[in-house]
């Protein structure tokens, strides 16, 4: 049941998917892997929408050069663990929800435990090495995954439903090296917000998900496009599942 206070808080979106939809959000658990450029808008919009349990994983501390895009973190947070900074802001934004944090580096050793019992996982990572580990764990545990990535004015989003849709490995063949990438805050804001929108649709059963298609945002020319992505029948990650 949602309280009278919550009915008021979420009244404008209850107009869209009813109290039943709001209860689904309240009873949901979402893991966000990262609280940086993508993780910030994802967490802010999922918290404000009333997702009942948000788990955030990040191993980093806030640095000055993060603040052009990582809008969960402020100047006073420089040197603070990102998960602590994130938790403080999100608790202030919505005291009705649980924020669970892990100051850990994702690896093949801990990834399955860290995404365990999530209804959906959101990729807010900054490198493909970890993204591919997350993709593999999500496919094996059959947890839906919303992939997002950004660079400069450009970004991409797709939603992966294990067993039904292509996984990340079906369309990205090699692991690009980790690097310091150029990035504008608005690019991360747009892509992270699209990822949060996918999560809310999935949890409430609303709309049409970005499955089997990769949405590409070109902020330089202000264009969104999409390309189809197909399941690779020989995919080393999802073909045998």
């Amino acid at each position: 049941m949602i309280s009278e206070n919550e009915q008021n808080l979420y009244s404008r979106q209850i107009m869209m998917f009813g109290e039943e939809g709001q209860e689904k959000l309240k009873n949901s658990s979402v893991t966000i892997t990262g609280s940086g450029g993508l993780g910030s808008p994802i967490a802010i919009y999922l918290a404000s929408a009333g997702v009942g349990k948000i788990r955030i994983i990040d191993h980093d501390t806030v640095a000055l050069s993060n603040l052009n895009r990582q809008i969960l973190h402020h100047h006073k947070d420089i040197g603070v663990l990102k998960v602590d900074s994130a938790k403080g802001k999100l608790n202030d934004l919505n005291p009705n929800i649980d924020i669970e944090t892990f100051n850990e580096t994702l690896s093949t050793d801990n990834i399955k435990n860290l995404i365990d019992k999530s209804h959906i996982v959101v990729d807010a990572l900054d490198n493909y090495h970890t993204r591919f580990s997350l993709n593999e764990a999500a496919v094996q545990e059959q947890i839906p995954l919303v992939h997002g990535a950004v660079e400069g004015f450009h970004g991409q989003v797709t939603t992966i439903i294990p067993r039904e849709t292509p996984c990340m490995r079906c369309f990205i063949s090699k692991t690009p090296p980790k690097k310091t990438f150029p990035i504008l805050g608005t690019t991360a804001g747009i892509i992270g917000t699209m990822q949060a929108n996918e999560v809310i649709k999935y949890l409430t059963g609303s709309g049409k998900l970005l499955t089997g298609r990769l949405l590409l945002w070109d902020g330089f020319n202000s264009k969104t496009e999409e390309v189809p992505v197909n399941k690779n029948q020989y995919c080393e990650i999802c073909a045998t599942e």
């Binding site: 940086g36 490198n127 450009h154 079906c170 990205i172 063949s173 690009p176 990035i183 070109d218």
Partner: protein, 94 residues
């Protein structure tokens, strides 16, 4: 030879100044070679050895109607009418 639509993304379209071109060829290799001739500035972004144009630059993904060509016949993949090629450089950040 068939005409295929080629869509360029991220920095490729910024270097080329266009986001979509139509190119004729029989294989993916033909299309990428013609693309490199029309837009020489793309060669080093697409090919590992821009002089030879025989191997894709390591991290670029070329999708033919949604299939990564690495899972088809690579650069030798044959084309048919109405095929669409999307060339996606890696977008890595988060």
């Amino acid at each position: 030879m068939v005409d295929v639509k080629v869509k360029l993304f991220a920095n490729l379209r910024e270097y080329a100044g266009v986001s979509e071109v139509t190119i004729s060829g029989d294989t993916v290799s033909d299309i990428l070679n013609s693309l490199g001739q029309q837009y020489p500035q793309l060669k080093e972004l697409i090919f590992e050895n821009p002089e030879y144009e025989d191997e894709l630059q390591g991290y670029i993904n070329v999708l033919l109607n949604g299939e990564n060509i690495q899972h088809l016949e690579g650069l030798s993949t044959q084309l048919k009418g109405h095929d669409e090629i999307a060339i996606l450089p890696p977008v890595s950040g988060g």
